[in-house]
């Protein structure tokens, strides 16, 4: 097969910076439009606020992703938008860095990797959404850059060690990198990885007065909250049905990465590719067995993106060098196609089939000696699909419902001075976004549902005052002021209190929902929410139960 010269744009050093600029513009626009406002993303800001207000209690509260919270703490006082914009900028640094890594690995088209990052629906959602998954992804790129470009093994290890305290799913890649370097007698990465958690644990033992505090107050519960017959993990079939959409959200071009040829890869790439394979199996396998409290959210996949981007860059470069993808890659794509065909039915499988299809088209042109068309075959559809790919991330807010609440709010509650009681985590951020929130006139009180309350109880150290300190901080910046358990009954609130109950499987375990509903003068409701005001006990009700 003939060798083709790759277009210079694919190696031009200015291009990654241009891509980063586009990424920042798109990301900042999404911040201002609240396109990816999501409760887990807002939590990054709340955690940073806790560390700002209560440095010791917050920093040694593992649930708060302490190192990440510390990084954003200085700007957390400026509000969510400021943190989210900083977050977009942090994520943007990964774009030139991944190109530099590809260049150092002598891949002939190093600008393909930044393009893959730019085209990831998950990254485009989590960067403005402020999710820690994007920080972990950027952190992994930074660690790889330190290792490959700057050849600073210890510093790479230290960054990897930090990642372990930010997102536990990073562990698979950390292990892959540490083992690869150790096999080459480079133990400095391992030393760096151990350094950060050990220092953190030792420092924390002074605060907690407990040498084993890391184990006694872990970052998350190992298992879902007990006693819920409805929540015991997912089945293999359900996991398979949702798989295509999740992979598509990570990168619509993911299956192009599968075409990378083992024998053409550098040793480092092989280690990373094995890490990626192990990671994908683990992260989609955990929910099936209910392990480590992972669910099937696509965002957990995001940390795999850098390796996907580098493998796709390898595939494109090899195609220009006359080495198109081999049989194993084709078999994998064919199997994905058969899986997608077999699973059609209740859950649409077009994300899986499109992903496999564009990889197959790309492979066909690469094998026919048309590497530029092969590149266009996945990159053009990927770019064109981006505007409609947001829903695959499952991070876009439920707009019809929120819009409906906003309309009801403006129409019927605009001039109301009354406290708000809700379990809806997005309510306060949403009201703030629309400038409908006034904490003095209408303070938001947040019902800590049983699952959250249980987690906080288990993960905070009450005896050293951590619980009081953190709850004190939550009073100022959180989904709302946590409602005292004694006030989880409607009688504890004044008549006229605004109540928004969000349909949630844990709400029934927390409050007596029918008792609250019976007291409500209904304003609006659908299958996701009930909005009303507390009526006097004997007053005639308007609206009643939704039917």
């Amino acid at each position: 097969m003939s060798h083709r010269v790759a277009p210079t744009i694919l190696a031009d050093r200015r291009v990654p910076w241009l891509i980063a600029l586009v990424f920042v513009v798109v990301g900042v626009e999404a911040v201002f439009s609240a396109r990816y406002l999501h409760d887990e993303g807002v939590l990054t800001w709340y955690f940073a606020s806790i560390v700002r207000q209560e440095p010791a209690a917050g920093f040694f509260f593992q649930k708060a992703r302490p190192l990440l919270a510390l990084a954003y703490a200085p700007i957390s006082g400026a509000g969510f938008r400021a943190v989210a914009i900083a977050h977009v900028l942090v994520c943007a640094t990964a774009i030139p860095a991944i190109s530099a890594i590809a260049r150092r690995l002598e891949l002939p088209t190093p600008n393909v990797a930044p393009l893959v990052l730019l085209c990831s629906p998950l990254l485009l959602a989590t960067a403005p959404g402020c999710h820690s998954n994007a920080d972990a992804m950027a952190g992994l790129v930074f660690a790889m850059w330190l290792l490959v470009v700057r050849q600073r093994s210890l510093a790479c290890g230290a960054v990897l060690g930090c990642l372990l305290l930010v997102r536990s799913e990073a562990a698979v890649f950390v292990i892959a990198i540490v083992v690869d370097r150790a096999l080459r007698k480079d133990y400095r990465v391992a030393a760096g990885v151990a350094l950060v958690p050990v220092l953190y644990a030792l420092a924390g033992s002074l605060y907690h007065r407990d040498v084993l505090w890391v184990l006694h107050y872990p970052p998350t519960l190992a298992m879902p909250a007990p006693g819920l017959h409805w929540f015991t993990g997912t089945s293999v079939m359900d996991e398979m049905r949702g798989l295509g959409e999740s992979l598509f959200a990570l990168s619509p071009a993911l299956f192009v990465a599968a075409l990378a040829r083992w024998r053409d890869m550098a040793r480092t790439e092989r280690a990373w590719a094995l890490g990626l394979a192990a990671f994908l199996v683990a992260i989609r396998g955990f929910p099936i067995f209910g392990l480590f409290n992972f669910d099937t959210s696509p965002r957990y996949l995001l940390i795999g993106l850098p390796v996907v981007a580098l493998l796709i860059t390898r595939v494109v470069g090899d195609a220009y060098d006359g080495r198109a993808g081999g049989r194993p890659g084709l078999i994998l794509v064919a199997l994905a196609t058969l899986l997608g065909i077999g699973l059609r039915g209740e859950v649409p499988q077009h994300p899986l089939l499109i992903g496999a299809g564009i990889a197959a088209v790309s492979l066909a042109f690469a094998r026919a000696g048309r590497p530029s068309i092969a590149l266009a075959a996945w990159s053009v559809p990927t770019l064109l699909m981006l505007p409609s790919a947001g829903s695959t991330t499952r991070l876009d807010p439920p707009m019809p419902t929120l819009d409906r609440i906003e309309v009801a709010w403006r129409d019927q509650l605009g001039e109301t001075d009354a406290p708000i009681v809700t379990n809806a985590r997005l309510l306060r951020p949403w009201l703030v976004h629309w400038e409908l929130h006034d904490e003095d006139r209408r303070p938001v009180h947040f019902i800590l549902q049983s699952n959250i309350a249980l987690e906080l109880d288990m993960l905070m150290h009450e005896e050293v005052g951590q619980r009081d300190a953190i709850f004190g901080a939550l009073e100022h910046e959180f989904y709302g002021r946590p409602v005292d358990p004694k006030r989880l009954v409607p009688d504890a609130w004044p008549d006229g209190t605004i109540v928004l109950l969000w349909t949630d499987k844990h709400l029934d375990d927390t409050i007596d929902v029918p008792r609250w509903r019976e007291r409500l003068d209904l304003i609006d409701a659908d299958e996701r929410f009930t909005l009303g005001r507390l009526a006097p006990v004997d007053a005639p009700r308007h609206g009643g139960e939704p039917r």
């Binding site: 196609t337 026919a368 499987k505 375990d509």
Partner: protein, 152 residues
Amino acid sequence: MSTSGWRPALAPAVVALLALGFAATELPTAGQKPSTDYLYKVKTPVGQYEYGPEARALLGGLAPGDKLASDWQVRALEGPLRDGRVRILIERDEASFVISVLPTGRSRLDPPAGTDKWDIFYGEFVPHAAELEVDEARPLLDAMVERVRANE
């Protein structure tokens, strides 16, 4: 490029045709957002939706006020919902919970009871402290299995 140069492209081209062809049949039609309903376990008060004749037939004419397993009383019913689910709100004294009857395999969880065609779940306890263990709920589940089996 000669014709033989395209020969290695044949196999991936066939895979591409298959994948994209079937993908086209799966695409949501214009204006329709891809359904993510399966991701949500929406729980709303029973009785918000109609209790249709199909569901009534499946449950052997079960109606509000009927007794189940001696001391439990049916308070409200609804279904079949969009996912085929029929929901029955059952109460005793101040406590209540919901039994859901779903077409087999529709839920991602293992059902505590069921027939060949229907899975039966229970949950949504009010108050939460009234939660029943499977053994305690068994007479109710058995009664429901018996009804469904007789009419499925």
